[in-house]
Symmetry: C2
Amino acid sequence: MGPLHDIKVLDFTRVLAGPYATMILGDLGAEIIKIEQQGSGDDSRAYGPYLKGESAYFMSLNRNKQSLTLNLKTSEGIDIVNKLVEQVDVVVENFRPGTMEKLGIGYDKLKEINPRLIYASTSGYGQTGPYSHRPAYDAVVQALGGIMSITGQPGGQPTRVGSSVGDITAGLFCAIGILTALHERNQSGEGQMVDVAMLDCQVAILENAISRYGVTGEIPRPVGNRHPSIVPFEPFDTQTSPIMVAVGNDHLWKIFCDLINLDIAEDPRFAVNPKRNENYLALRPIIANRLKEKTSEEWQTIFDKAGIPNGPINSVDKVVQNEQVLAREMIVELDHPVAGKMRMPGIPIKLSRTPGELKDPAPVLGEDTDSLLKKYLKLSDEKIEELRINRVI
Amino acid sequence: MGPLHDIKVLDFTRVLAGPYATMILGDLGAEIIKIEQQGSGDDSRAYGPYLKGESAYFMSLNRNKQSLTLNLKTSEGIDIVNKLVEQVDVVVENFRPGTMEKLGIGYDKLKEINPRLIYASTSGYGQTGPYSHRPAYDAVVQALGGIMSITGQPGGQPTRVGSSVGDITAGLFCAIGILTALHERNQSGEGQMVDVAMLDCQVAILENAISRYGVTGEIPRPVGNRHPSIVPFEPFDTQTSPIMVAVGNDHLWKIFCDLINLDIAEDPRFAVNPKRNENYLALRPIIANRLKEKTSEEWQTIFDKAGIPNGPINSVDKVVQNEQVLAREMIVELDHPVAGKMRMPGIPIKLSRTPGELKDPAPVLGEDTDSLLKKYLKLSDEKIEELRINRVI
């Protein structure tokens, strides 16, 4: 039993930010009851590529969840939601603000049914403020939130991060908010609303860019792959593929010079990091020439022995074979009843006594509708059949 | 009182991943007792730029924390740790694996003192596996973990994300692990260890890249700023600065064509998204030409009215002035006793009943040493003076 085994989540989320949050809760043992639109289901079921007709995108985000189809535009569908809300701990949704209210299941309604309910919303811009009702996608939020403006090659254009960190970080903060509200409820006995905006999360992950700008007045720009203030701390070409080296201090610098057979460790232009920074343009080619003399693998062995942080720039095919990634069970394979075996990331939160677990592959649409309606609403087979004929489920 | 006001955290973390996790806990009301190396403190106190001698980097990550200096290489320092461990709920550390054990305060030791203790470690590669003792920095982990390989301009080089998402996502997952273990402890009465690796977290945030590769066999590469499968969904130049537009479906596509005065909504090459994808190279210049006809601000007004997701690519100076960011209190100013006023990101987790709060600016080194030693160890002024002379504190 996972550490959150006593927590029940009614999950209205679709696509990425919300499903990422509930995936984390499900990986850690919470029961996730995913409400999917009757007929079509989570929008991301339509995202390719497909494996025997099942979306790989959907499957990689919805393991450890149950699927209950509901038509939320019918009064019977809403009645079912209300009865489920009585029995769960958490509701999560990532519609545009106002949508749940229009359906008659906004927080103000649901907290009357269940005052202990934690009601979590993730949205592009949040439940408040002048943009709150605007639509947003990851790309727009990455653009607005500043991370694109500091990502990219020097002098080049602002660059979108290749994974949807706008959605994913919102999912992470949302999970933190839910767990925090659950903790607080243990004392107060009361639920509350958790409101997480993708844009807010982008601001929160800008690291020191905001304080740096505030102090210096200089607008942070893309600096490519080098560190803004530590040298050498960037990739270099080798005889084979590039290698990332991170010579984080002057002690490592001396060792590094020895290893690459360079007699410049004590050179006044390069002896200490501020000087290396100042004389970066002179230093880089000197190092670059040396590193071209061996293969990436040879350098990795040499640097690893001496404790110089380094590594290859892995493409995804290399990541899924990396011995550390595999040793940490960060690539797992789940056997889906329709799609068959599929690989996906494992659980990055390793708990010593009550670890998370990967129990179930993603559900097919409506897979658990009947069993959940029987379990939580005590509905008869006849009633379920009637709901199905009426397209409520 | 924040929602975690009953939680005490003994915080050995330095620089970024660990301090980010404890900042979140502190923002939500936990008491954070930051143990800093006697004499020098958190390494990041030495990172520029400085404001009246105080590091902006450090200040932006250590608000809502107390600073207690300790020399962990003295037996008296370790005695103090042990006495504090009796009284706290959580220990967090981000040393290289093995360091806490060498100091005599590894999890096995500390759980004997306090079996209810949650002991959280973040590290580059985790506590287990062949790389576990290797040093890592954000840049190396971004390289190894695959995110660089999918970030960048098409055909261009792999690109580091401009903020340290290797550290930051580890901090987020670490906070989730701690809160989960606290939840579990309410039932079992027992603590446990939380082990979070930066590399694992990079794998976990690759979104669908791993499943996509698994299904298609195609290695994901940088695709620049466009969406891999939706068109148009990327920035375009205007009369002024570029604008990001995200036309997420065929319904929006028709509206978009009207708005930019293009008669191609029903053109068979472009009418549905798969066709727009197929004919991307023909379509992009047609749209690009239109969008050059007005300013970014004019297009934003037009698109906003019609519900087309869009936005500017903001640099940091624009982010900190954005009306939505400000309305959400995502830029806050704290008044530091030495540095004065400094702006930094606010709290992205908005709780309706027990919100987090920004109580205190980052501490100066050792600011709370005396008060904490009196409060938790009942030490006298004389004893504290003696510890100070002996450089224990």
